[in-house]
């Protein structure tokens, strides 16, 4: 229950920040995807099935808040959570390189999925191919850059553990 509560708070905080102050730190109109970052971190700690569920819920919340193309974030984040979650257990989750790689792979997977779904639905004007690679590059780098600042805090928050260092062991 405590775990659920924490994830709910994170969802509300993520949605609020994404629609407010993250706009101010956007680079070339691209801002970090906080909800995706949370799903990827969760996947690294809890594996593919719980991460896919969280990705589904977070994506759906994002879609409902946006009010357009409901389902696109739901599926993208669900599949991303699942994909990144496959690495759980095979990697040391307390190593700082793990979230960096996870965010890199997860971000690219998420945006590819997002783009493909957009093409399937058939609204090319909303998902322009020209700016797609630029958007995917900036978003991925932006998300990866958040790892050193957020992973340790997130680790302690969801695991509910006392303060512990994230080392660089591989």
């Amino acid at each position: 229950m405590k775990h659920f509560f924490r994830l709910s708070i994170l969802a509300v905080v993520g949605l609020t920040l994404e629609s407010t102050i993250l706009e101010k730190i956007a680079i070339a109109g691209v801002k970090p995807d906080l909800m995706l970052v949370i799903v990827i971190f969760y996947a690294l700690l809890y594996g593919e099935i719980p991460a896919a569920k969280l990705g589904f819920i977070y994506g759906l919340l994002e879609d409902l808040a946006t009010g357009k193309f409901i389902g696109i974030n739901t599926i993208s984040k669900m599949l991303t959570g699942y994909l990144v979650g496959l690495g759980e257990g095979k990697l040391y989750s307390d190593n700082l390189m793990v979230p960096v790689i996870g965010l890199f792979i997860g971000s690219i997977a998420n945006y590819l999925c997002f783009f493909i779904l957009g093409i399937i639905v058939g609204h090319p004007e909303v998902f322009p191919v020209e700016s797609f690679f630029q958007t995917i590059m900036i978003s991925t780098i932006y998300n990866v850059c958040l790892a050193p600042f957020l992973y340790g805090r997130y680790y302690r928050l969801v695991r509910g553990t006392s303060k512990r260092s994230i080392n660089t062991r591989t």
Partner: protein
């Protein structure tokens, strides 16, 4: 017979994917209404978004001020320099404007009297060197036809007379100097007298040698009489401020306020020749 058995897990994902694609398809276009769930979510987020935006805006204002401090300082420096330059420019323009006004008045005076007198305009280039004399130096001299004892005027009235000349300058003794004496008369009553530097009172000039019963109206204009061959007749000197009887009771004197502002003389006209035309 070959049977394809699809795992339940993937079947679920497939169904989910189809549902998602369908909802995407129908929610991609412009929507007129939102579902109750969407409305509720927006209502939930709205106060949080409002609070965060307000705080972020305040912080942004503060950080903007800090970040732009150097820029503002630079701008301030540039603006100060600009203000300094404009002030100097404005001062020059004001100087030109005032000079233009004075020269126009002088030109009017010259045009008014050019049939009677031949006049030479000149700039005042220096004042008297000591406290005992009231003289000015002008930038025209013998090279310009200026000679000793020529009358000097401006658009306001009589200024003085030339007392010495060099090729390019001339010294003018002002009528307020104690050495000066001008034959004068009251314009309306034609009472004659002599205008000289005042010995008492607040006025700079006085008219003396007036019979005790001569009519001298206060505020009456005093002009040159033309007697003495130095000052031509009809130049305005000043107006009567006060009439004072002499202690012996035989004569009286009048304190005269000159029309000319002797403290700010800048351009004058030297009357070189009386053409003899009547005023």
């Amino acid at each position: 017979m070959i049977h394809f058995k699809i795992p339940k897990k993937f079947l679920g994902v497939l169904v989910l994917l189809i549902i998602a694609l369908l909802t995407m398809k129908f929610t991609g276009i412009e929507r007129t209404t939102l579902t109750p769930v969407e409305k509720a979510l927006r209502e939930l987020l709205a106060p949080l978004q409002s609070g965060v935006t307000t705080v972020a805006r305040s912080l942004s204002n503060v950080t903007d001020s800090i970040l732009s401090y150097k820029e503002i300082q630079e701008e301030n420096k540039l603006l100060k320099e600009k203000v300094r330059k404009l002030t100097i420019e404005n001062s020059h323009l004001e100087e030109f404007r005032q000079e233009n006004v004075r020269l126009n008045l002088l030109l009017d005076f010259k045009r008014q009297y050019e049939e009677r007198w031949e006049m030479e305009p000149a700039h005042v280039i220096a004042r008297d060197y000591d406290n005992w004399n009231s003289t000015i130096i002008i930038d025209k001299g013998s090279n310009h036809g200026i000679k000793k004892d020529m009358a000097v005027s401006n658009y306001q009235g009589l200024v003085g007379r030339v007392i010495n000349v060099t090729p390019n300058t001339a010294e003018v003794l002002l009528i307020i100097d104690s050495e000066s004496a001008v034959g004068a008369l009251a314009q309306t009553t034609r009472v004659p007298g002599v205008v000289e530097a005042a010995t008492d009172g607040n006025e700079k000039l006085q008219m003396v040698h007036i019979p005790h019963d001569a009519p001298l109206p206060v505020n009456g204009v005093i002009i040159t009489s033309g007697l003495g061959q130095i000052f031509p007749k009809g130049l305005k000197i000043g107006y009567i401020k006060k009439v004072i009887p002499a202690p012996n009771g035989l004569v009286k004197k009048a304190l005269v306020k000159p029309f000319v502002d002797f403290d700010s003389l800048e351009e004058v006209l030297v009357i070189k020749k009386d053409k003899g035309a009547t005023p």
